[in-house]
């Protein structure tokens, strides 16, 4: 490695900055039709489903049970934040039990 750390850090920061700004900037030139709006509304749903699916796949029984309990608790408690926090408690408990 020949470059100094501050230089490498500046390069990495530039890449991260570019990703944060570029999608937003390009979207300014896309007219938002109802069809595009439907796509924008669906995107977070798909990303969240993807994050959950990957976590279930990467984890074991404890992770699967905890995430399933979050889905159930959200429907019962009508609060996704409370359900998510309880899900963390569930996975910690199951791991502590050695699952």
């Amino acid at each position: 490695m020949t470059e100094s750390f501050p230089m490498l850090l500046a390069v990495m920061a530039a890449a991260a900055f570019l990703c944060r700004m570029a999608g937003f900037t390009l979207m300014r030139f896309v007219p938002v039709s109802p069809r595009v709006e439907a796509a924008l509304r669906a995107t977070p749903l798909a990303v969240m489903a993807g994050i959950t699916a990957l976590a279930v796949q990467a984890g074991g029984l404890a992770e699967g049970l905890a995430l399933a309990s979050v889905v159930g608790l959200t429907l019962v408690l009508r609060s996704d934040v409370a359900a998510a926090l309880l899900g963390v408690v569930v996975v910690a408990g199951l791991r502590w039990m050695g699952l």
Binding site: M7, A49, A53, D80
Partner: protein
């Protein structure tokens, strides 16, 4: 007409961001620990967290730096690939956020992360009008991320592993809860199923970084395809 951007909206966002900030703090501890093991001091670790501000990208960068083979181009490319999902996050926020004016919009994007993007998209769906909400959710998360990094890098050996407390599963838990709460009609189920399937398929073919962006693109594309003029 500029959209509202007030202290009230910022406060609302900050309040909603606090539970997420707790998990980001624990994640920051984890990054600080890894950075310290790679020979970073506290200052260097915190500078990295502030400059890149993305956990997965930073972990990959530290791994690459540890090999001693890291070039500036390799680091630049690594972060572009891992953070490519931010292109999608920015694009989905654009129609809502732009109406606050360019300075406030771009300023808010500096605090954009996975967790507060999800939180903000949820709030927009339920009618949040105040554009300061995004920066508000980002504020406690940034504090948690930087203080977690500092503590993790400084006090490596005395801390319990974040996994033991379940904090590593916090973001998936929030994702599972929010997606459940956001499904209102049968039309909403389609991107959920497509997103999950696309993430798993792309993960097996290409790895974790393209899996998330692929899920978002596939879900968005399907929703655009099935959209029909309301009659």
């Amino acid at each position: 007409m500029r959209a509202p951007f007030t202290l009230d909206g910022f406060r609302r966002g900050a309040r909603d961001g606090v539970p997420l900030a707790v998990s980001i703090f624990a994640y920051g501890l984890g990054f600080g620990l890894v950075a310290a093991q790679a020979g970073f001091g506290v200052g260097k670790a915190v500078a990295t967290s502030a400059a890149i501000y993305s956990g997965s990208a930073q972990l990959a960068a530290v791994n690459l730096l540890q090999t001693g083979q890291a070039t500036a181009w390799a680091l630049f490319a690594t972060i572009l690939v891992i953070n490519a999902r931010y292109l999608l996050f920015g694009a989905t926020l654009q129609p809502w956020l732009w109406s606050a004016g360019p300075l406030k919009a771009y300023g808010s994007l500096l605090l954009l992360g996975d967790a507060n993007w999800l939180m903000t998209m949820r709030a927009i769906r339920t009618g949040e009008e105040d554009r300061a909400y995004l920066a508000g959710t980002g504020a406690p998360i940034a504090v948690g991320w930087l203080s977690g990094t500092a503590l993790g890098a400084a006090a490596v050996s005395v801390l319990p592993a974040p996994q033991a407390l379940g904090f590593d599963l916090m973001l998936p838990c929030f994702a599972a809860g929010m997606v459940t709460a956001m499904i209102k009609t049968r039309v909403d189920l389609l991107p959920v199923v497509v997103g999950a399937a696309a993430a798993l398929a792309i993960f097996h073919l290409l790895g974790p970084a393209p899996a998330i962006i692929g899920a978002g693109l596939a879900g968005g594309a399907v929703a655009a395809l099935v959209w029909r003029e309301p009659s």
